[in-house]
Amino acid sequence: MSTETISQLDVDRTRGDFHYPEQHTFDAGVGLSHATIDYIADVKNEPDWIREFRHKALDVFESKPMPTNWASKDLDNIHFDKIRYYLANAQRPTRSWDEVPDDVKRTFERLGIPEQERKFLAGVEAQFDSEAVYSNMKKALGDQGVIFVGSTDGLKDHPEIFRKWFGKVIPTGDNKFSALNSAVFSGGSFIYVPPGVKLKHPLQAYFRINAENFGQFERTLIIADEGSEVMYMEGCTAPKFETATLHSAVVELVALKGAKIQYVTVQNWSANVFNLVTKRAVAHEEAEVKWIDCNIGSRLTMKYPGVVLKGRKARGEVLSIALANNGQHQDTGAKMIHAADETTSNVISKSISIGEGRASYRGQVHIPKHLKGCKNNTECDALLINSTSRTDTYPAITVRGSGNSVQHEASVSQVSAEQIFYMQQRGLSEAQAMSLSVNGFVNDLVREFPMEYSVELKRLIDLEMEGSVG
């Protein structure tokens, strides 16, 4: 790996911690009401069915209690009446970086996005606060019928596909935050890959929060038609503000017969962000869905990517890494809902807790009695760096019937003082030694990741460890 490649992927915390002054043409103001929703629907000039969908979702959101009975009480510190729900400058993303306003363009240049696009991406969408400012895809893909646009354009320009799947994988009422997203969503990606089309290069979306007291609610819907293949990568950053910022996305994936979707997330939120995301896929017959999820940063992340294995021989996989530093709680996991014979699922989760950081794993595996030949493998390993670090595991496995098999392994380990001393004796500083241990801990998992992201992840881990030794 050349140093040039490493620097182009350099999306570290210090790099993300900057912002330019805001000037928004469209601003829904502070707080959430039916008027906010009308403002968003008006500005986006949306069809009536979406406006109604949003209004209903707001009612659902308001009727649902905070899930503090099982989740972190820190959720009570989100003040929905103090958040701004929609901020944008324009309604349509441009197809050329030259047309992106200078200050916004500067932001993405600092994050290295245009450069990555030139090097290895098939298409890029860059979202700045509520709307995509840039969206482009290699022409050859468009000629093959591939659609890669923002959710706003998707619902307007491709209603026949959009409407069929939108909100079907994750219904509005799935949870309080999916309801919130359904009420105020804006941005995110809409992707359709036609039958048999296999994308060689990934599509990438970059989500950037720039404004303070803001909520980003992107909505992503990916449909891979029969026998098609697509890899989607998302990156996320925000500057560090004193006040809380909310990121609450909904991501729905549909893999039709024999299709393959790989969804890769490397989030690097600043420590003031509540990151509450619902991600789920439906895998039809012989389809394959793989979630690769790296959670670094944020104040509280709650995210449990899932796959509903709906067709015979469908496969689902979640590979996740969570790194919880001081003041952070990574509450992550996976859901595997087996709903057809001979479906298989694999969950491998690695978490690292540093200082007073806390990592929780919640896993749900469901295999009903009438199914045959289903298999699940779950491994979750936690690494504690300090004696004040914390990890918890909450597995919920319901496997019935005799023709199915499930395997669950969990481990907790600690970086020992002897390990650090040994590495220091060879000349590595304490921080380098910690970093090497942590990278070693996640190594077998990172090998499964696309090369570009494994390099970035290693850099992010190094940065976190540097700051944690003192």
Binding site: M423, Q425, R426, G427, S429, N439, G440, V442, D444
Partner: protein, 254 residues
Amino acid sequence: MSLVIHNLHARVVGGQEILRGLNLEIEKGRVHAIMGPNGSGKSTLSKIIAGHPDYEVTGGEVLLDGVNILGMEPDARSRAGLFLAFQYPVEIPGVSNANFIRAALQARLAAGEELEATEYYGDLYKEMDRLEIPRGFTARSVNEGFSGGEKKRNEVLQMAMLKPSYAILDETDSGLDIDALKIVAAGVNAQRGPNIGMLVITHYQRLLDYIVPDVVHVLVGGRIVRTAGPELAYELESKGYDWIKDELEAAATA
């Protein structure tokens, strides 16, 4: 040029004194051996010189080519040229041997300098061949699932790659069968020369048949109580350590 240990006093943090005024000078180009009964402070000495956080120095100094290293972090001591071959090498899951040694070498370069990969692997393979280590070793995690012999060979390999000015080999013979011992000793002997001073710590004379020291010291009760040529090791082997203890007691009561 030498590693000088002068009137060293040390103890387990908050515990009993283990080293009680230890003096020793290891010159470059020479091999010293320290022998001693269990509990005499042999392994403690190696850890204290390397800067293990479980111990505290209560007096004296350790000078590496004139520089007192006692205030330095363990990694700074290593980069200053000190190497410790561990009695019990530590496992580092998920970190390959090749990456580990590379990181250790990289840590010795100035900021912005990159280790040249081709050259590095060339050196590594050469040293591995010398120690009869198969190529597949580079991809295995550091010491994980290694046999005793593999662990000790790995220590000697790391020493060869890091090229220290002073190396302490702590009970490098423990856990080795005779064939493994010969290979490890050959690896150590190949590194002997005018640019390195070695301190070989061992309980048994056996190792010293293969790594022949210039000087042999006996450590009892946290002090060097006798220093002589290699013949001292044979005397200890035939008479045991009690003989020295008895002599010491006799001298003390006389």
